[in-house]
């Protein structure tokens, strides 16, 4: 069933304005949180089993717990609003319709960790959203939800917006940090993790926009309520971005664990008239592809992992029978070879090499070994790269080449 808790303000007139937000119960969570002991907030977020909405699904509370408590250095929060994963368009909805929800989440996390400077790293293309967010920030400053001595609590917080310049890799948390520091967006070697050494070498919390936007309701309604909305180990709802050959592409908020099949056929209205399902990419372009007989799967991190794919950013891309699978493979490979930052050998060369083979298959008939070569190169890349982009490229390419081998062989000499 569709469940509007996170998206309850979507569609409400002027929902992006603070007066409307306040009318609808906004900033109550901040008022409540500022009365709470920060440790209690941390406990609540941990108990909520809120898993990161950016892709990796790491429990948000656990990550907060990694931030060292007693340090001389300042600590930072970065909201990851880069939304670069192809097929993903949920964060832009939150920031367009309910920017104060994100701001409220950021205030609570900052208070919990003892952060006084927070950033929103927003993808460059979202210019109008950045402007709107900027307005929302100034509204929040005017009402003293931001700035000095917030609501007389003695707590200070400033939030800054930083616009990216159009690189997928700047959504990767350490690439983001480098970019935010004004450098080339090259991911950093981990460990150390950002929670210990992040922005400007200081402890840093990085969370996806949707993750942060869940915080106010966790505080207001409690961890148990949140867990009940979803699954015991994967609480809450998720905003699914559904695109491709469906009748009603768009964002759908559903409980974690909703069946993929239902999302496609119930909420998104099924395939466009006359089209037949060929494949589904269930969690953003990085997720291994599923065939029609594999889509009866609950949409949560663990179930999709078991099904050999991943929930990622919960972006469902529906592919119909008429779409040549080589086109899908090419789009995937074009994207990753274009977006590989070039820092590490296997991803830089592997992606480009695979891409060159695929493009050759359009020009001339290939050999069967070409498909084996794609599989071999993707396997050699997998698990060997500096940042997860290498795997994000290797996994879908591997799954697609293996699952649709028969069709791909029509591009090779028999």
């Amino acid at each position: 069933m569709e469940e509007k808790v996170l998206t309850k303000n979507f569609g409400v007139k002027n929902s992006h304005r603070i007066d409307v937000y306040l009318e609808r119960g906004g900033y109550q969570a901040v008022q409540k949180a500022l009365q709470m002991d920060p440790d209690k907030i941390l406990e609540e977020v941990k108990a909520a089993n809120l898993r990161g909405r950016g892709g990796a699904g790491f429990p948000a509370g656990v990550k907060l717990g990694f931030v060292p408590k007693e340090v001389e250095k300042p600590k930072y929060l970065c909201a990851n609003a880069d939304e670069g994963e192809p097929g993903t368009f949920k964060d832009r909805y939150i920031m367009t319709h309910d920017p104060h929800l994100l701001i409220e989440g950021m205030i609570i996390i900052s208070y919990c960790v003892g952060i006084h400077k927070a950033y929103v790293y927003i993808r460059g293309e979202y210019e109008h959203i950045a402007q709107q967010l900027e307005k929302a920030l100034s509204e929040a400053y005017d009402k003293n939800y931001l700035g000095q001595n917030i609501l007389n609590s003695g707590f200070d917080l400033d939030v800054f917006i930083h616009r990216g310049a159009g690189a997928y890799i700047c959504g990767e948390e350490t690439g983001l940090l480098e970019s935010l520091e004004g450098k080339r967006g090259y991911p950093r070697l981990k460990p150390p993790f950002p929670a210990a050494i992040g922005l400007f070498q200081c402890p840093t919390v990085i969370n996806n926009v949707e993750t942060l936007s869940n915080i106010p309701q966790v505080i207001l309604k409690g961890a148990q309520w949140f867990v009940n909305k979803g699954l015991p180990k994967d609480g809450g709802t998720r905003i699914f971005s559904v695109s491709g050959m469906v009748e009603k592409p768009g964002v759908y908020e559903c409980p974690v664990g909703t069946s993929l099949k239902d999302i496609i056929y119930e909420y998104a209205g099924g395939l466009k008239e006359g089209k037949k399902l060929k494949a589904v990419i269930p969690g953003g372009l990085s997720a291994p592809i599923l065939k029609p007989d594999e889509i009866d799967v609950p949409m949560d991190f663990d179930s999709l992992m078991e099904a050999g794919s991943m929930l990622g950013s919960a972006s469902v891309m529906v592919i119909d029978q008429e779409k040549p699978i080589l086109d899908v493979l090419r789009v995937i490979s074009d994207f990753y070879s274009h977006e590989s930052c070039g820092q590490c050998t296997p991803c830089r060369i592997g992606n480009s090499w695979i891409n060159k083979i695929i493009h050759r298959l359009y020009r001339e008939k290939g050999k069967k070994e070409d498909l084996d070569k794609i599989i071999r190169l993707a396997s050699n890349m997998k698990g060997k790269t500096l940042c997860p982009l290498g795997d994000a490229a290797a996994l879908p390419i591997l799954s697609l080449t293996q699952k649709f081998r028969e069709e791909l062989e029509t591009y090779t000499e028999s």
């Binding site: 080339r184 274009h338 070039g342 590490c344 060369i349 090499w353 060997k384």
Partner: protein, 523 residues
Amino acid sequence: MSKEKTKMIHIQIDGKSLEVREGTSVLEAALQAGIEIPHLCYHPAFPSEGSCRMCLVEIEGRPDLELACSFPVKDGMKVSTQSEEVTKARKNMLEFLLAEHPLDCPICDKAGECKLQDYYEQYGFFESRFEEKKEKKEKKVEIGKTLLLDQERCILCTRCIRFLKEITGTRELGLFNRGVHTGVNIYEGNPVENNYSGNLVDICPVGAITDKDFRFQTRNWFLGSGPSICPLCGRGCNIDIEYHPGFPHFPVPKRVYRIGPRENHRVNGYWICDYGRYHYSYIDEDRQEQIVDNKKEKLDSWERVLDFLKERIKKLYYMNKTSRIAVLTSSWLSNEELFLIRKIFQEDLNVEKIFLTDPLPGEEDNLLLTPERSPNSKGASQMGLNFKELDLNKLAERTEVLLMFGSHITEHFATAQTQEAIGGIETKVLLNPHISDLNSLMDVVLPTCVIAEKEGTLTNVKGLVQPFSPVFEAKGHCRPEWEVLVNLAKKLALNFRYYSPFTSVKPIFKKMQKEIGFFGTKK
């Protein structure tokens, strides 16, 4: 904290038990134990970056291969650098690197000392399976006065970029574009301009950055190499001199082709400056190789020259007129040579007119280059020589025998001025490794050796006494100054017992240690 840092722990690499310092990386531990793990982006002078992925190893209990260059050792850790999975990953990484690499080896300066080439021979040996078009990039970018960059050969290890960031702080190189199109380059119109740029050629593991000074001059496998000390400033950087021993029937135009740093963390780390690197022509050019006898007294052998000198000096000695001898030394001489000058002239002969002529000071930088332009000014100042202030009139006044080491006086006085001052001196002898304007003013010019051709020790500005030995033999009549001085002392029969053991530099050094406190305490 510091206590923890020095804690020693035990690990095993390929079954070999090692005791290593806690906190070192697996790669450093392996290298210290002489176990090779291939690596391209790692350089001991910079924090590891982990981009080349060549150093993957297996660590017991870890699900995936780990980077040896960044993985810290832990007590009881077991590492395999040779397992099937490791060798496979290594080979695959080489395959990636070579896929887009132009196979320029036949025309590449680095061939023979290229890490990519070496690793392919050691760990690769596969047939190329790359059938696609290679990327086209810039093959000849002038990134600095002496530096050329070939972006196609570059494997993007970023050592060059990190050197300019971490060591010189000048940051002239950066990365441009993305993915497989990524390339190193300078920011438009701002070439690499610092006194350490030549080091980029050394640290580039492949032939991407080449040195115009060396480019296409010879093949590196023809070159011999010997350790030496750079004599061009007071730092005394440890260097390797690479020279061509010549072909049997084919003359080569010079001996020295290249100077490179020799690692020494007490002096120069991994680097040398460009001034020291590129000014090596003094070793082969304008060398004084024959004895010059302007008096036409048949002084055509060392034996005759020494006899001639003995006569002049002895005469004054017996007449108690050694005050009529003047000696011009220089801190281009070794400690032992300066010591001999002190013994023979200051102590045995009571010569008072001892002067020091050094090259004029030059610019210094905040890394290695010192203002002194000679390698032993510290040694000269510690030798207990009572140098007189340099003054041509005092030098010449009533002087009958002038002994001059080196021609640095030309930097202090115009030659005509010197000529006027010393013209009346009866016997003028110059010992010099180079042909100079002074040759015509002298009665005799004796060819001596440069540091690369002799043995001895030098004291650097920090007071470190560093030994050096000949990299190659001297040419023609050239002899080291210490040998000339010992032979002269023997001829003069000053103190036979004292000088006769001085058949090599070592006994002189030992005596110096005994007699001069500075060298005794400092070793």
